[in-house]
Symmetry: C2
Subunit: 420 residues, 2 copies
């Protein structure tokens, strides 16, 4: 079985809304074994919706449509598709009551125009919407299968996973497209590829994609048209292979956040962390405190944007600025040591660099960043030259700082050759 | 004249790539007066591409296709569309030389397979690609108009604005769809709507959309199918009307960043700024230092996540924690005053709150945030209760903090009724 997507809404064609639903639906259906063969987007226009839905049904036999189920005049999807299936709309008391109850929980009464949302094509299956007011619909007839979902992402998502996939999966062809992602950082794509060498042959029949970004290089394995168990087994084996091969650069899988991994590692070792940031301006602190429960590890930090703050809050000796400049190894080291003293922290991260776009010189170009670390009193500094915009340089510096400290932690309390 | 979009790539249907190109192209074409009537996405499959392109040309007479112009085996767009137009592919030396020159600038030599990228449909117009290796193409024939662009967003964008729009605009129907956005913050959507009252009638024939988000409520005005000059005039008038009506909640238009607006206001008044953050963990500092040139206003900050840091770095009296708790008005006030002393800053922002998901109590629920400010020594505190996830609460707190300080600055050096 295969299916087509039909996303409905004038705002999609005008570009006022980015169609994120399609990607999410595409992934979920492919993983369930129902490939999406085509996506069509049309305006809130009955003739265009009818023509596109009919063409999809004739080509593929099944269509999943999103959008146009709301209570306003331009929400015409339900009428058009019901008509295509020769189904009459009838008012369903239980749908109306669920809608009234939903409004009541918010202390409100539904407007009269919402009554239309309780009209349902006769013979269609109602997919209860616990995330909003418009129920999903599942219509089958000689024309094929049409699934109608709201366009609001949270409602689409809830209905897709709780109502649509359980009904579609038994009809799936038994061949799925599934992916699994191994996350690496602290290494350029080219060096990672060199290390992994001819791993493509080893992970076959899975495909391997390198996805470089500000946070590192993600390695996406994809199983194409395999039985679900076979796909999952191969993905697990190959993910383990990549993780072992990428070793020290690997910090997790899927949505894992490097900040959370670092905090967990520090928590295990009962170590507490403080930061001293210049060019990242609080970005490391913000990443760490974005993780719930970070307060048992993270004590705080100093955003030492001006040199006077580096001096007075972190005790950086004033003569270092004159002799080495604020962006230098000695200043990064003094910031890291100063934060350790100031917060009584076993672990610290310091950052000083030139984020750009201005402020670069031939000696110290934009993108030059020194990252300092103190681990139980032992201070090390790494020099980096990051490419890209101000945002890129800052983002890469934050990620690299988290990664270097994780490496130091994993290497034990007396890190080996980490130097400038 | 109207057009259809055809986005090509198996990764789009599998959901590995979110199709952001479509929205960008849709906005640009609508603003130029060439409405997009439909979008179709198909896999890297010659038969599907041919069928979809032909249908679009028959329906609408013009199609803009993205993707499938690369040098690999699954990049088949050019061949398929050239065939549809009955055009033969011929090798063009000047295209090859431009490609060789591009590789040379990166110190490389193009692989042999890239030679195919220099093959161009005879009779087609080459759209030079300064942003990548695959040139765009403009094909016209009895079949209609086909524009082929690479799928890489930066390349698509460059070609769209520099090559496609200048050629399309003279053919546009003279009716455009254009938008303009007025940005507000610090006010709930309902209160803003009450203030604006029946402004929808005043901005007619423009439409008005409320777009609430973490950073505030954006007001998007749209001119539908008007002459370009008329659209721009009405948009300017109505944007001014909304700005005047939303007054103190309005901080800019379009992509304006509240942090940049605040920094500019402080710069004008020759005032310098420091921060003292607890639950936002450096997020305010990161926002401010994200703006190039922020260093002439922003001195630095303290991320006082633990109470001991609030005490030792900001001089918050230790007994306040016992009597009021860390999340309280007196602590926020002491943090703001402490940052002013510590950094010698005329302006400070302090934040202490409960971001969640844990740590809430009946008295102090998740989302409770105190924002403190010191303006030339005068300290004020605002209490807020923000809804949403940890990320939402922190994001809203950052934006509200920047907004409150902007209000205080605009109100002059002795702000009136800003209290708890």
């Amino acid at each position: 079985m295969a299916i087509e997507l039909l996303t409905i809404g004038t705002e999609l064609l005008l570009g006022n809304t980015v169609d994120t639903n399609s990607a999410e639906i595409g992934r979920a259906l492919a993983a369930a074994g129902v490939p999406v063969l085509r996506r069509t987007s049309v305006a809130d226009d009955p003739a265009a919706i009818r023509e596109a839905a009919l063409a999809a049904l004739q080509r593929t036999g099944a269509v999943l449509a999103t959008g146009g189920l709301g209570p306003t005049a331009d929400d015409v999807t339900k009428k058009v598709i019901a008509d295509l299936f020769g189904m009459r709309l009838t008012f369903r008391q239980e749908v109306w009551e669920a809608l009234v109850a939903r409004f009541a929980r918010a202390g409100r009464v539904p407007p009269e125009k919402n009554r239309e949302q309780a009209e349902v094509p006769e013979g269609g299956v109602i997919l209860p919407n616990r995330w909003g007011t418009a129920p999903g619909l599942w219509l089958e007839g000689p024309q094929g299968l049409a699934i109608l979902l709201p366009g609001v992402p949270a409602e689409m998502r809830g209905l897709l996973h709780h109502e649509v996939l359980p009904r579609l999966t038994p009809r799936a062809g038994g061949r799925v497209v599934r992916s699994r992602t191994v996350r690496t950082t602290g290494v350029p794509e080219s060096a990672l590829a060199e290390r992994l060498d001819r791993v493509e042959a080893e992970v076959a029949p899975l495909s391997l994609a390198y996805l470089p970004g500000i946070e590192g290089v993600d390695l996406r394995l994809t199983a194409w048209n395999l039985a679900p168990e076979e796909a999952d087994r191969l993905l697990a084996e190959s993910a383990a292979l990549l993780t072992g091969r990428a070793r020290e650069w690997c910090y997790g899988e899927g949505d894992d956040d490097l900040a959370a991994v670092l905090l967990a590692e520090a928590r295990r070792a009962s170590l507490r962390l403080a930061t001293a940031e210049s060019c990242t301006g609080g970005g490391i602190g913000a990443r760490l405190t974005g993780i719930p429960g970070s307060s048992d590890v993270f004590l705080g930090g100093v955003i030492a944007y001006h040199n006077e703050a580096k001096r007075s809050l972190l005790g950086v000796p004033g003569d270092l600025f004159a002799t080495h400049g604020a962006v230098s190894e000695p200043v990064a080291a003094a910031m890291a040591a100063g934060a350790a003293r100031r917060f009584g922290a076993e672990l610290t991260i310091s950052v000083t660099g030139i984020a750009g776009p201005d402020g670069g010189t031939p000696d110290k170009p934009v993108g030059l960043v020194y990252l300092g670390f103190s681990v139980r009193g032992k201070v090390t500094v790494h020099r980096h030259q990051f490419p890209g915009t101000r945002e890129d340089v800052r983002g890469r510096a934050v990620q690299m700082a988290l990664f270097r400290l994780l490496q130091l932690l994993r290497a034990g309390s007396s890190p080996a050759g980490a130097t400038v």
